[in-house]
Amino acid sequence: MKASLRKRFVKKVKRRVPWVGHIVNDEKIAGDLNVPSHNVRIQAWEGSICLTCRGSRMLCGKPVCPAIVKLYSFIKTKKAADSNQMYGSSPPGIFVGRIGYPYVYAGPLVPPVLGDTSILDAPEQWLGKTFDEIIRFRTSLVRGKFRVNVKKPFQNRRFQEKTLEVALSKAPVYTEVAFKKKPSDKFFFDGTVQPMGPSAMLRKMNVGNFKTDSRIEKAYADGDLKAESAVLDLYLNGVPVSGIQRAFSVGAFGLKNERRMVPTRWSITAVDSTISRSLIENEVKGKPTINEYRVYEYSYLGNRFMVLLTPSSWKYEWIEAWYPGTVWNPAARDIAMGGDWEGYRGRTTYASIGGCYYAVRLAAAEFLAKERRQAGVIAMREIHPSFITPLGVWINRECVREAFRKDGERFDNLTDAMTHIGSRFALGLKHWVASSVLLKDALYQERLTKYL
């Protein structure tokens, strides 16, 4: 390339677009977004509608701009953690990334505050909170990172042991971290990514006095206990799923030489799947079936969950319907539906729809196990545009759990139950039936009992 050409090219790139403060026409938003440039750097994906919209034109069809909601709390956290070192009470929380597996970034989650921060990493307690609150919980945690080979975490013992201590702690634990650089000030102006706080590479880490949860500590100390049994024992002993998942992710369970760190995202599904499978095999199958059709319902943050229980042997289906304008269905005019199912004998492949399948399966298995009954479970979720940003699979688990805590409606036959579901959902019944395997099966498949 000629020197002159290159020069011109460089010039072009350097031209800055003073977009936030100057172009946004809503005064309040413009004022809020007009942050000093050294504090937060705002970026957007090339070609994204957020670039055109800038939080004021509502181009994505959502009632509130998710990117701006996230940006507010990001700026707040960033202000509090704008230095090379910080301290705070970890809720306790840790995060293990999945990018680059098996060489991943792992480390503690520390908020820039002291005190009882336990709610920040306990999705079990989040139900009923507003969007702003949940996004604040997520973004207020600053993530310290170190690089580690998941199979050989001891190679990075300095940080691994401290992170493990945080993960095993029962209550919020005082944590001091020093970073190589200030936590990143990059913020992606985008509605589809999960809210996340700033992160930085660790230089030093210190953990204050802490008490471990004796139940988790016992499983950690037992080098002959398989991870699967550890997870089940802890669940049956009443340890919350998020606590088990945290210890699972940091590699605290399993045979002594087989232990490894597990990316947070995978560990959530691994724990959901392991517990629900065992509940189904041991506590649900073989129990008497329920005698009627039941419908449970719960709505939260623009999601409507409906669960239909049918008087049959165990089987399970999960269906989601995304309205146009929601995160996974931004552009289309039609409603996107997806789901997966399993029969009495379960499944051998990973559910195509992802981790939410297993999170809801846990909620359903837990309920049936408590009732000592068996049933066919068809769980449905309708997502409206007011659900502005994905928050994680916990929302499925906790909402379905909540639905089961309420008294369900009971029906003598399938038609009445289906009519009731149809009347509660905005989306027509025929769409649900068309995308469901089990509903079609319940409606069209005859039983031999009729002919005996």
Binding site: Y344, R345, Y444, Q445, E446, R447, L448, L452
Partner: protein
């Protein structure tokens, strides 16, 4: 007292495999005449009706009728250890209630497995008048089911006494298979009146796949919108029959 000996272990293994496609635990009724089992799958959509006469065994001793309930997948694990030419002896240890399996080959192996609590309810067979009867090679039937499984999860079977057609319609694809009188796969076809019925492939394919190891010829009997009866002809003195409920879609 119950004790049997069978020199062809594969026979027993294939029969148990065929049963285990529908159920996890099976209650066998053992009588002086032979062994039988009849059970429905947990969803009550399909039924297996299995008998093995005492003449199918090399030695058969059973002095009274008893019920033995077993975990079939555990049983299969053990039976899979029997080699090609090994004889298998099975007996019920009445003192411990355990099922004892002995294999005699190069060396003698004895396995013990627990029996489970037998279910008391007798399952009757469905009462249906069948209007159509079609005999096929098991292999031909299995191939056709594999074909239709590509496009849909259920298959419509239809016959007018001259030919047998199997059709499947998926969301965007379709399949149509015709078996004419005189073709290699179709051995005989007769129908009192034209009959058509739809069945779930999830069951049908599994049943035929598992039973095809035990049998070369299958006789199908069905009527319009009624359950189908699949009779797999066995090489020994015994029967392997399945019933499968139809799928009735109101359009």
């Amino acid at each position: 007292m119950f004790r049997v000996k069978i020199s062809n272990a594969k026979l027993l293994r294939d029969a148990i495999t065929a049963i285990s496609t529908l159920i996890d635990e099976g209650t066998f009724t053992v009588s002086p005449e032979g062994i039988k089992l009849r059970a429905m799958d947990p969803s009550r959509v399909a039924m297996v009706d299995f008998t093995m006469q005492k003449t199918a065994f090399d030695e058969y001793v059973a002095d009274e009728e008893t019920k033995i309930c077993l975990n079939l997948s555990e049983l299969l694990k053990l039976l899979k250890r029997a080699g090609r030419d090994e004889a298998v002896e099975i007996q019920l240890d009445e003192n411990t209630g355990q099922f004892v399996i002995t294999m005699r080959g190069k060396y003698v192996r004895t396995f013990r497995m627990p029996t489970l609590e037998a279910s008391e309810d007798e399952v009757p067979t469905p009462k249906i008048t069948f209007n159509a009867k079609v005999t096929l090679t098991t292999d031909g039937f299995r191939q056709s089911l594999e074909d239709v499984a590509l496009v849909s999860d259920h298959v419509r079977m239809e016959t007018d006494g001259e030919k047998m057609t199997m059709t499947a319609r998926g969301d965007i694809m379709g399949a149509n298979i015709e078996l004419l009188k005189g073709s290699d796969a179709l051995l005989s076809v007769e129908a009192k009146e034209p009959s058509k019925s739809t069945f779930p492939l999830s069951y049908l394919s599994e049943i035929v796949k598992a039973a095809s190891a035990t049998s070369d010829i299958v006789t199908l009997e069905f009527s319009t919108d009624m359950p189908i009866r699949l009779d797999f002809k066995q090489t020994y003195d015994g029967t392997l029959v399945y019933y499968l409920a139809p799928r009735i879609e109101v359009e």
